[in-house]
Amino acid sequence: MKLPLQEIAGLAQRLTRPVQFMEVCGTHTMAAYRSGLHQLLPPNVRLLSGPGCPVCVTDPSYIDAAIELAGHPDIIVATFGDLLRVPGSDSSLEQERAAGANVRIVYSPSDALVLARECPSKKVVFLGVGFETTAPTVAWAISQAALDDRKNFFVLCAHKTMPQAMDALLHGQAVKIDGFICPGHVSVITGAQMYRFICERYRIPCVVTGFEPWDILSAIKMLLRQVVEGRAEVENEYSRSVSEAGNPVAQRLMAQVFEPCDVVWRGIGTIPGSGLRIRKEYARFDAAVALDVTFVEARVNPSCLCGTVMRGMATPFDCRLFGRACSPSHPIGPCMVSSEGVCAACFKYEKRAAA
C-alpha cells in the first residue's frame, strides 16, 4: 500500500489559499512527528498541533493540589506515569516521591482501586486526568467503589471533553483552522457524530482517523478534498475502530458518574461545559469534596509558551527555552514532560535547538 502523497499534492495544487489543519490528539501529535509527516506535506498545507495532550492542558493548580495531598502521611496518590514529572509551582510529584511522599504509578484506575483494598488504613487518591477515552475507565472505578462501599478510594477529577475545546478554539478565532483531524480513541467512545455540530456551526470539515502515518495522511487528503469541493462534513477514516454512535456502555457509565462543568484549560482559560465533575451521588469519592482540596493559582515559568503552543499559535521552536533550559531531562512546561506533548515530540524527532 502506498502513502497518499500524490493525491495530497494534486489536491493542494487546486487550493486557492494556504490551509492549516489541526490535530487535537496527543497520540496523533507524536505519530506525526515520529514519521516526519510535516516535511512530507506541500508548502501550502500546514499541520498544527492543538490541545490534545491531557496532561499538558491540566491547570498547574491541580498539580499543586496533588502535591499537597501527597504530603499527608495517611494518603497515597496513585497516578498515570505521565503526570509524575509535570512541574507545579515549586515541585513535582516525582520530587515529592523522592523526598518520601507516597506516590504510586498505576497503569489503570482499577489498579488504584486494588491498592485501596490492599491498604485499608490509607486513603488512596487517584489523579483523574484525561479525555473521553480515559474518563469511562475512571467512572468504572468510582462505580465499583460505590458497589464495594469503599471508604478509602477517591478521585481528584480533572477530566475534560474535546469537542468543546475545538468549539472554543474556533470561536476564539486566534488561530485560523481550516479542518480538524479528530482524535481516534476519544471517538471510539463518543462516536464520529460528536463533531457534526462543528461542521454545521463553523463550516469546517472534520475527519476522524487512526494512528498510522497512512491514517493521518489519508485524513489530510480527505480534508483537502472537502476544502477543494467546498464541503464541511464529518468523515470517518478510522471506521475499523470508530462507529457513528460510539461505545454505549462507556457513554452510559460516564453519564452515570460524571456531569459536565466549566473547567480551566492551561493556556486556553475556562471553556464552558468542557469538564467532567463527579455527580453528587458519588461525592464521597470526590477528593475535592471529601478531602476538602483547595485549588490555589499556581506560579509557572512566564517564558514557557506551552499555552500558546497548545492553541496552535506557536511551535516549540518559537519558545526560547526549547532545547536549552527546557529538555526532557529538565522539563519546564508540561508539553516537554508528557509522552504526548508537542515539545517532547518535537525534541525527540526534530531536535534542533531554537535558532
Binding site: M1, L5, T133, W140
Partner: protein, 69 residues
C-alpha cells in the same frame, strides 16, 4: 496511554481478560465492551478493553501498517 494495536483475548474470567499482544500477556478489564468472547481482538486503553475489532478490521490495519512512501 493508548495502545492502538489489537490485543487478542486468550483467557476470560468474569470481567477480567488475559490478552496477548505480540506474544506478551497482560490482564485487562472487559466491563466496557459488550459480550467479550475468547479469541476476540480488542483495543486497550488504561487497562480496559474499549472496542472489539472485527477480523476484517484487524486485516485492514495490517495492510495499512505496511504502507510506505
Amino acid at each position: 496511554m493508548c495502545l492502538a494495536v489489537p490485543a487478542r483475548i486468550v483467557e476470560l474470567r468474569e470481567t477480567t481478560a488475559t490478552i496477548s499482544v505480540d506474544g506478551a500477556l497482560r490482564d485487562v478489564d472487559v466491563s466496557l465492551i459488550e459480550e467479550p468472547r475468547l479469541g476476540d481482538y480488542v483495543l486497550i486503553h488504561a487497562g480496559f478493553a474499549i472496542h472489539k475489532w472485527e477480523q476484517s478490521e484487524v486485516e485492514e490495519l495490517e495492510e495499512i501498517r505496511s504502507a510506505t512512501a
